[in-house]
Each structure stands twice: as C-alpha cells, then as structure tokens.
Symmetry: C2
Subunit: 411 residues, 2 copies
C-alpha cells in the first residue's frame, strides 16, 4: 500500500482542469519519454538477461557516472539494500573526480571479479570519461586489448560518441531512449541494468512504477495535482522539504534533490523561477533542521515519508536504567515503531504551526513501492514544471561553468 495524505487545503483555483489537460498532452506527446518507461521494460530486461547469462562470475559492478547517470540507481539500491538477492554482485558508484574516493574504491576490488559500467547519456561527461581512463590505467586494461569487452560496458544514447567507442572496441551498449533526460532515466537502462545486476527485483520495480502511472493517468487520482498547486501557487513559499524516516532513504533524498532543483530552477524570459529542495533523514534531523521548520520563516512545505513495516526490527528493551527512568517506553515497543511514532509526533507539531504538510506511508520498502515512489516524484516534478510554465527537462544553466573549465584545461 502506498498512501499520500495531505494535511492542507489547496487554494481554490480554476487551474486543475487545465493542468490535467496539459499533463495529458505531454504524456501523449513523444517529447517526454519517461512516462512510458514502466511499460517498456520487457525488451530491456530480456536483453540484460541474455547478456548477463554470458557474463563471467562477477562480484563487483562499478557504476561510473554522475548526476542522472548514478543517483537513480544509487537511490533504489540503498532503499532496497536489505531486500536484494544475497549472492548478487555488490554495486559501487564512482561519481566524483575526487582522488581519495576513487583510490579507496579501486584498491578494494580486483579486476577479475569486476565489471565497469560507463554511464553517460551524452557520452561526453568529463568526470565520467576521466574516471574511466583512471580505471584503465589502474588495472592496465585498454581499448584494443582482447579482454577489454569483458570488463567494460556502456549505457548511453544510441549513436553517441560513447556508443561509437563501444562499437569500435566490442563493448556491449545499453541505450537510454533519446527522449528520456538523465534525471528521469532511473527506470531506463541507466537504472535497470545496474540494479538488475545488483540483485534488485527490477520487474517489481517497474510494476510499482506502472501502478503509479495507472493510478494517475487512468484512475485520475488527484493528490499530486493538489500538491503541485500548493507548491507553486503561493509566492514566497519555495522550499520543499522531504523528511524521510529511515537511513535507507539517504540516497533517495539526493535523487529527489537533483530531480527537483535541476528540473524546476529555470529562467523564464528575464524572470528567475525555482523551487528549492531539502532532503532530511528522520529521526536524526529532528535534532538538526527541524528547529528551522518550526520557528523559521514559513517558506517551506514538508513531506514526511515513513515505512510501516521495516524488513527487520528490534524490540527496545523494557529495562529501566537508574536515574534515566524518564526514558522508559511502553513494553514491547520496537525500534521501527519508535521511528514511526517519532515521524507522526513531529508531523503533528509541524502541522500545528500551519505549515503545508503531507505524509507518504509505504507499507513496505520493497521494489514495488520503490518503483511507485520514484514515478510519483517524477510526476510531481512534471506537474510543477507545467504550472511554473518552464522547460522541466533541460539544464541550460550548467553550461557556462563547463565552458570556462574546458578553456582552461582542455587540450
């Protein structure tokens, strides 16, 4: 069960019908491709299956990619870490051109047991290609070597320079559909290939996403419509906090931050538009950011996410420590219950302040619910983009820095 309860009234508006109509147009157009990924997965899964059957015995899959090329797979992998097949290879993510992190990872794995997935939609991401070169030198394996194709594969656009490189040297290529942007690509090859190799039930992941797609486009559940209206209508209320209760959501938060910030921060003519994402982990950040939510400016909305039944649980022992009896809890309460009760109590205190608040409850953190959750936030992002009347799917602002960089250190 996936439920999303809204604890706010939406501003009365005539925009609702218009928004349904706009999103339907986008959904039926060919310009935005992520909408259909949940039902397009069959061929991809088959392809992975056939290719995977021919692979050596591998223990490590190293994903070399950044932003949309890593965050989605990482989010799902962390969320389902306790659900994955026990004997599956371990996934590593090399996302940063930070020598400390790269060395640490490369020193902890052996070439024979490893597969490197170079993930870049354009095929020209500087950090990704540079890290790939470092890997080649570290393990002394180069394009043209007979075994090169055993150790490397690529995930990219069909026809990109990376795809051409792969073809030249006999590497397997998986393709991200051209009309699917990087940060919306987790349910394409960019996420599905590494996650399947890593022992995640990607069939169920896609099923969950398909269920969300159906609930929205077929059953016309309007919760997301209301949320997107609430987030975009009120001026000066432009920070959206995701308060996720469990350590397993840390990378999901990072995925959300990218999706939200890069999609919804845009110039519209001379105007600067944008919603600012903040990712928090409960209960930890009750001892951090919460104070600002409670007493600071009312420029924030808060979405609580919690899991009703965690895969594993522990009883909080009913023992009384002398002098600290104040902390004694009801007999039999578990850590997961305590975590959930903290989420509920904190949420009530936030609602009491009149802050725009809603609550997402997953009955279980499994592949199905992860898929639902991913697609749900993608939809919400698209809806907000339509309401803000911006291009949700490009990222023109990051090009200036790249140009300055290449002029200095490029050949």
């Amino acid at each position: 069960m996936f439920t999303n309860t809204l604890y706010f009234d939406i501003p009365s508006t005539t925009k609702t019908e218009e928004l349904w109509s706009k999103i339907s147009v986008e959904y039926n157009s060919n310009a935005v491709g992520y909408y259909d990924l949940p039902i397009d997965g069959e061929k991809l899964l088959l392809d992975i299956g056939v290719w995977g059957a021919g692979l050596r015995n591998i223990r490590n899959v190293v994903i070399v990619g950044v932003g949309g090329s890593s965050l989605g797979a990482k989010a799902v992998y962390s969320m389902l870490f306790y659900e994955k097949k026990a004997d599956a290879p371990k996934l590593y993510f090399l996302e940063n051109i930070d020598p400390l992190g790269i060395k640490k990872t490369l020193q902890s794995i052996k070439l024979d047991e490893s597969l490197f997935l170079i993930v870049s939609k354009s095929g020209t991401t500087l950090d990704t290609i540079s890290i790939a070169k470092i890997i080649m030198v570290h393990f002394n394996i180069f394009p043209g070597d007979k075994a090169f194709g055993k150790y490397f594969a690529v995930i990219t656009d069909n026809g990109s320079v990376l795809n051409k490189f792969a073809n030249e040297y006999g590497l397997k290529s998986f393709f991200i559909p051209k009309n699917v942007g990087g940060r919306f690509s987790v349910l394409s090859a960019a996420g599905i290939v590494p996650l399947t190799l890593g022992g995640i039930d990607t069939v169920k992941l896609l099923e969950g996403a398909a269920a969300c797609r159906n609930d929205f486009f077929e059953c016309k559940l309007d919760t997301l419509i209301k949320k997107s209206l609430a987030y975009t209508v009120k001026v000066g209320q432009n920070i959206n906090v995701l308060f996720s209760y469990s350590d397993i959501f840390r990378d999901f938060n990072a995925w959300f931050v990218q999706l939200w910030a890069e999609s919804l921060g845009k110039k519209k003519g001379g105007e600067r538009i944008g919603l600012t994402p903040v990712g928090l982990i409960g209960a930890i950040d009750q001892h951090s950011f919460l104070q600002l939510i409670m007493d600071g400016p009312k420029d924030k909305s808060v979405t609580f996410i919690r899991i009703e039944n965690l895969t594993e649980d522990i009883i909080v022992p009913d023992i009384s420590l002398k002098y600290i009896e104040k902390n004694n809890l009801k007999k039999g309460i578990t850590a997961a219950e305590l975590l959930n009760e903290q989420a509920i109590a904190t949420m009530k205190s936030v609602i009491n302040e009149g802050i725009i608040t809603d609550e997402i409850v997953l009955s279980k953190a499994d592949a199905y619910h992860a898929g639902y959750l991913i697609y749900y936030f993608e939809l919400l992002t698209s809806l907000c983009g339509l309401l803000l009347e911006i291009n949700t799917y490009n990222q023109p602002g990051v090009e200036t820095g790249k140009k300055i960089l290449l002029s200095k250190i490029g050949k």
Copy 2:
C-alpha cells in the same frame, strides 16, 4: 594556509562597529562557552590520555548519540579519514533509532573489541538511551555486571542523570561544559574524546581552532563580519549554500546544516526568522543543485570550499579514446587539479550571475585546518545570530514533538 576570499561588496552599514562590540561582550561573558574550548583542551587531553592508557585493546569505538552529540565528531573524522593513525580503532556512529542500521553495525563488531560511548548533553535523549538499551541486550551486558564499566563510558553534563547513572555503575564520565551547547560542542569532550580514540590529532585540531580564535578576536580579521552582514542584511536572500569540493566534506556539510538551521531559525516575538542551509558536494552536485543556483531565484549565497593539496592524488591518464577525444585534457593534470579547476570554473559562472559568492581554500585537509574551519563556521553562526537579534544557542521549537511522542509511547 586558510584563506577566505569574498567576491561581493557588502552593503554600506554602520553596524560593523556595533557587531564587533556585541561579539566581544558575548565572548567575554560566561554565558557562551564554546569560544574558549580551543585553549581549554589541555586538561581534557590529559584526562583522555590517562584513561585511554588503562583501556583494553579496542578495535571499535561506537558513538551512540544524535545531533550535536555525533555530527561534530563525524564531520572531523570523515574529513581526516586519510590523515588518521592507521592502527587506531575505527569509529562507528549510531545516530538513528532505525533497526536496519543498528543491526548492521552491531552485527559487524565484537563486544570484546568494542567500546561504547553514550553521548548526550542532557542525558535524556530518547533515541540515544533506547539504542544503548538495545546494545546491552544484544551483547548481554548490563548495569551491575562486573565488566559493564569496561565496555561503556559516557559524555554528558556534570550532574546529569546520565552522569549519575555512570557514577552508580562505575562508568567513566567525560563532561561537556554547561555553557557549551550540543551543536557547538565538537571541540569539547563530545568531539575530542571519540576523535582522540579514533586516531585524530586532536592537539592540532585545537591548535587550528585557537589560531582562528586569535585571527578573529586578536587580529580583528573582518572577513566574517562582512559575510555575516551580507547574509543578514538583504531581505528575501535567506538560503546559504555550502559547496564543498571533495567527498570528505559530506559529514562536515551535515554538521554545518545543523549548526546553521538550529541556531538561526528562531521566533522573535511574533516574527519568524531564519537562514536556510544547503550542503552540496562538488563536483557531483554541479550535475544537480547547480542549475537552480544559476537560473533560479536570487535567494541564495554560495560558499565554495576546496583543498589545494589532497593527501593522495592520481594523474588523469593522457590517453585519447577514439570518438571521445573532446574530453582529452592537458597532459599531466591530476584528479585533484581537475576537482579544483571545476570548483574555480563553477564559482566563476556563479559570480557572473551576480550571486553572493565566496571561496574558502584550505592548503591541506589536516587536523589544523579542520579545527580552523570548524571554529570559523561557529563564529559566523554567532555573528549572524547577533545581527538577527535572536538566541543562537537554544532550540525551543523541537520540544512540542517530543511531548506529543512521550504522551503516546512513554510509560
């Protein structure tokens, strides 16, 4: 070398002198205790040394604490991970009442090789005490058992219920000074005890902090004064982004977020005041949040942090991959240089947009510079609090949730 270069003009104001005077009053008063921690460490270090000499051979130190009781130690430990003594015990942090994370940690360590530090200033943090109880049951070791004091120690206020508990059962207590708040406590026992055990050069850490204290209060370097004025004077510009280039800053960012949000989000009479912190990691988040900074609302300041010389480095190999020649870099460039050049290029692109930007450069990420950096951000927080005319050191907003929780699950 620690440098902080400001790339903005501050609004002309008469507040500068007033601010110097206010912070001097606070510094000389006895109400705020963190200012003197860098020069008060000698007795504490001696105490740790004597006590540590009598410890068994331990391989793991498990810090049980949340918020101010863990974030500071974790920030420094992560930043100096490649600098610590190689044979020192490993530090683990149990911060969340999440059963998945707790089980994973407890299953990976043995009692005989472990020491548990219960850290809570008040001594009554519910999650912390509950996790301590789970540890006791997991390892079957309880108060009153002869060996109990071998495995547990506490860090708390002198006279707190946790201190009384420790005295009753023969546990060592280290004290956080009463006038030092949790989020300003990393240079007190809360941070210094675990970090010293974890092989961090805490003498140098305190020296770095003392140098910052001296530069500010004795040499009257006014960079922080200017920054605090810029962050607080302009209405509607209330998001402060820390863009830290290197994976080693991830926990430092989390420490900053707590320090900033919990200190500067306050009600002043009926008014809601607050500055919102955002922590980013470069170069990764150039592919995420940067777009929003570049094209979104001008409600943000950005501070770039980078390290000139990383402990380890790798050459980006000067090899040309067919079809991807566009990514070829100048011969001999290293990963650390590429990381730094990315920071510089991104910073230039942000400055070009007219966004309030500054740059902190550490010549090296060692204990001295970590200490300087910590104290620097604490000072900046205090200055902003004075300018906003709020109580920087309390956190009244988080009590409501605690009350709701205890009414439901307390005994």
